[in-house]
Symmetry: C2
Subunit: 212 residues, 2 copies
Amino acid sequence: MYKKIPEETIIRLSYYLRALIYFIEENKKVVSSRQLADFLKISHHQLRKDLSYFGHFGKKGVGYSCPELIDRIKEILGLNQQWNVCVVGSGNLGRALSSYKGFRDQGICIKAAFDVDKNKQNKSYNGIKVYGLEKLQNIIKKENIRIAIITVPKENAKVISDNLYKCGIRAILNFAPIKLDLPQDVILKDVDFSCQLTYLTYRLKLLERKNF
Amino acid sequence: MYKKIPEETIIRLSYYLRALIYFIEENKKVVSSRQLADFLKISHHQLRKDLSYFGHFGKKGVGYSCPELIDRIKEILGLNQQWNVCVVGSGNLGRALSSYKGFRDQGICIKAAFDVDKNKQNKSYNGIKVYGLEKLQNIIKKENIRIAIITVPKENAKVISDNLYKCGIRAILNFAPIKLDLPQDVILKDVDFSCQLTYLTYRLKLLERKNF
DNA sequence: TAGATTGTTAATCGATTAACAATC
DNA sequence: TAGATTGTTAATCGATTAACAATC
């Protein structure tokens, strides 16, 4: 019987990892939950609670060994192995993601890009080759790709996601502003900066209202 | 005395807006909470609850008028006015955001981009001119910019955000993978796709574990 | 009127916060 | 040993779900 682990906890684990790497770079070998939490502006209670879902990683009265905790979190998140990824849609956003350096150290390896546009095909951006969509099945098999990032316009996103499913992809990061309709066994995450930006306009407008 | 409105509700309001626009395009003038909710794969209870924070927008026994509800949500989110935005960092991601068409119809208008790289300065990408950072104060004033999007590398993000604050910016959408340290009166939203991607690796790894 | 659907209140669920015993 | 800090349990807080009276 599993305790249910909040998705927020998993996301915070990524933040902890990043902070720990920073502390290591600053030659800090050991941190307390308070130091780590202060750095990330969350409560130390929450940090310890989050970690407690997965085990006992600290020493009472001492704190956490940075390199050790890094290893444990990487293990939990699956970052101690390589994940092959493809990017479908080779516009500005697709290319930005292809060239993003933050992925590599996390075992995330972008193996291929795809685009309908024949002018983009068979070229390489940032060392990543762009293929036509007819190669999807082939390349996904060959490169052992398990995760797909969708950055195509919303009109094409549905067809693309259906195709990806048929090719065996079960984890998708979707940047198209549309709710994809996929079977239950797909792990789907939407990233929608338009909504985030609108949250800012809402809050700014709220401030104005209060000033009256 | 305000009821506290969950941030999730605000984000969902954006989704409702998008869905309503879709229904209008499909020549649907009226929707029930159930239809709208099914379309977005949430519960109709939640949709009505979300709307109830702001008023009574429907007709009992009938449903919601699409164009009317669109107007009300735009009003709530502040999208019935123009918001001027700048993008700091004119790499792939910055340019992707500059050219993103989804913003324009929401009253969000990207007025300028900034970059340290002299080779990028004084050129235009997608009709948006790139300035040197010394022009920050000047352009923000002149163009009445109230929201900034940060897409610079994490090493530069802190200095940039401090500068933006000095220039009067109080709403920031931050894509740099670092926790910015800004005064309380700044509305700050982080977008971190590395974390989202890692959530996928976590879930995939979890599946593998369960299969043993 | 009868059927449909909203808006709101109450119940449930889940996540965060706080407190503290255990222990390095 | 005394001080510091973890890990866990209990209390609080807040969001989601469900139920239903009101009413078009």
